[in-house]
């Protein structure tokens, strides 16, 4: 991507929701809607014609073989890359003019496949950085330590502790984030993302490197997060027990294109999905 790609303006056509969303969310507008989303890197089309809608409190899954373009979709949603084609509607608002920071302020939070914590900061400070736009005070107030500073810092501390308690990580608050064990780092990334008060949480392989019991615990926690904060979750995951266990809608990506969409049961039996994962059955 040597130079910024000029995006062709897409006409917004009123299309019905691009996939089924859960019954309970059906009467509300979806939190996220992608229409014909696509991006090219040079001559390579990494994602093409990506259509998806996510309900307000849905847990959705994005799966596919390695290199299918799943993380690229996340990068498009969070504007790490600007899409070449298509539209992203976040709560009905087109995110085309927004950058990463504005998208975050509009309610998308994410974690990263290769963990990206603020390694030299403490666990608590990592969460407080996540609270950056929630608990605000000016630079001068901070330098002079005016009353507002103490009040807001107290608030930030309390909120951070409350968020850390989701994963029972209060005791780790003073540890340096970079020195935490792997699993705790993944959990901390989720807590930090939650601190931004999102309406849509993107989790990029949250269970990577976790053992089955940790994964089971994570599954419970993802559901708990959804139920507590009433937010939508979109996750990329290779662990099928997690995806099939908690996702209500699943979208399968292969070579940058959607090959199947549906409920876990539908996906499990989809011949195209099986082919993408296991290869074509040889003719006998």
């Amino acid at each position: 991507m040597s130079e910024p790609i000029k995006r062709k303006p897409t006409k917004l056509v009123p299309v019905p929701s691009t996939n089924k969303i859960p019954e309970r969310d059906i009467n509300k507008a979806p939190i996220l809607e992608c229409r014909h989303l696509g991006i090219d890197f040079g001559g390579l089309t990494a994602v093409n014609d990506f259509d998806m809608a996510i309900g307000r409190t849905e847990i959705a899954g994005l799966i596919g073989p390695n290199g299918a373009g799943k993380t690229t979709v996340f990068n498009l949603l969070t504007k790490v890359y600007q899409p070449t084609r298509g539209t992203i509607l976040l709560d009905g608002v087109d995110t085309h003019p927004m950058n990463s920071v504005q998208v975050s302020r509009h309610g998308i939070a994410r974690t990263f496949q290769n963990i990206r914590l603020f390694g030299n900061l403490s666990v608590e400070d990592n969460v407080k950085v996540g609270l950056h736009n929630q608990v605000r005070y000016g630079m001068v107030q901070g330098i002079l330590r005016l009353p507002g500073y103490w009040k807001k810092e107290k608030l930030a501390h309390e909120s951070a502790m409350e968020l850390l308690s989701i994963f029972g990580m209060q005791d780790l608050a003073d540890h340096q984030a970079g020195s935490l064990p792997y699993g705790a780092q993944r959990r901390l990334e989720i807590v930090r993302a939650l601190a931004t008060n999102p309406s849509l949480l993107l989790l990029d392989e949250p269970a990577a490197g976790m053992n089955p019991s940790e994964t089971a615990e994570l599954m419970e926690n993802i559901v708990k997060i959804r139920d507590t904060f009433h937010i939508a979750v979109l996750l990329i995951e290779h662990d099928m027990s997690l995806v099939m266990g908690i996702c209500e809608g699943i979208c399968v990506l292969n070579f940058g294109e959607i090959i199947a969409k549906g409920t876990p049961d539908e996906i499990k039996n989809d011949p195209q999905v099986i082919e993408a994962y296991l290869g074509k059955k040889r003719e006998v």
Binding site: M1, S2, T71, N75, V80, F112
Partner: protein, 292 residues
């Protein structure tokens, strides 16, 4: 005609910058470090050739060769003693060490050769016919430009055609993978320093031949400017160093002639800033996107 003579002095100055910049750019490309001591190796090259000519009365060609040998050994020693132990350390630690080495060389030179400037006799002994000198072309300028072109061609051939050159390119892409393929990374980096330092010696001789005074600090300003030239052309790129050096020399010469002698350096640096803002990786640098 006046313009032409400024152009020639610019090209000749630029050729010296280009030769020094090659050293910077090769070391940066492979070791990913800013070798701030490189400018001082130039100075050492100047002093060695000066001593060889003035005290030992050696012929200029032998003196240049001697300077190259001494600088090569010096460069390899510096790399082995000061930089190699820091291969795993952060870039700032290496930078500070390089600054330490630079101080060391300057002060050692001051102890050995004193602070009074040495008057350097040009190593170029032939004279050009008057028809050419009237155009502003000096024999030193001619030799400088020719050496630069020869070095440039030789180095490009070396890097692209030889096994060692291939090893260098491999190391600059990925040291770990290169090592797994059986390339001796340490030897390759030493080799890079050796070549860079030998070039610095040549640059020292040419620089002193053109400007005739030699001080322990002679190398620092040309060093900084050559580094600028390397960044200007795109650091890590050999043709970039050549283009950057030449352009920088010409800009400096023109700024001195037509704007202000005092501001010539400022103008050179201002052009660098503008280039980096338009093309953040320099004129011929590669853009490597960050992976998320």
């Amino acid at each position: 005609m006046v313009f032409f003579s400024y152009l020639i002095s610019g090209i000749s100055l630029g050729s010296v910058y280009a030769i020094i910049a090659l050293g910077y750019t090769m070391v940066y490309g492979i070791a990913k470090m800013l070798n701030f001591a490189h400018g001082d190796v130039i100075m050492v090259g100047g002093y060695i050739s000066f001593c060889a000519i003035s005290y030992l009365s050696l012929p200029p060609a032998v003196a240049v060769l001697l300077a190259m040998v001494v600088c090569t050994v010096l460069g390899v020693l510096i790399e082995g003693l000061a930089y190699r132990p820091l291969r795993q350390a952060g870039s700032l630690a290496v930078l500070i060490t390089a600054i330490g080495v630079s101080y060391f060389l300057q002060n050692a030179a001051q102890l050995i050769w004193g602070v009074t400037p040495k008057i350097y006799t040009s190593v170029v002994s032939f004279r050009l016919p008057n028809s050419l000198t009237r155009l502003g072309l000096s024999s030193e300028a001619l030799v400088t430009v020719l050496s630069c072109v020869v070095i440039m061609v030789a180095l490009t051939t070396f890097v692209n055609k030889t096994k060692m050159g291939k090893a260098m390119r491999a190391c600059s892409e990925d040291k770990g993978a290169a090592q797994l393929m059986g390339i001796n990374v340490n030897a390759t980096i030493s080799m890079t320093f050796a070549i860079g330092s030998a070039l610095a010696a040549i640059a020292g001789v040419l620089l002193c031949s053109a400007y005739t005074t030699l001080l322990p600090t002679t190398g620092s300003m040309p060093g900084i400017k050559a580094f600028t030239a390397a960044v200007f052309g795109g650091i890590g790129s050999i043709p970039g160093a050549f283009v950057g050096g030449l352009l920088l020399g010409i800009i400096e010469s023109m700024a001195k002639a037509y704007i202000s002698t005092d501001l010539a350096n400022a103008i050179v640096f201002a052009v660098l800033i503008v280039v980096l803002l338009v093309k953040p990786t320099g004129l011929l640098g590669k853009y490597v996107p960050e992976k998320v």
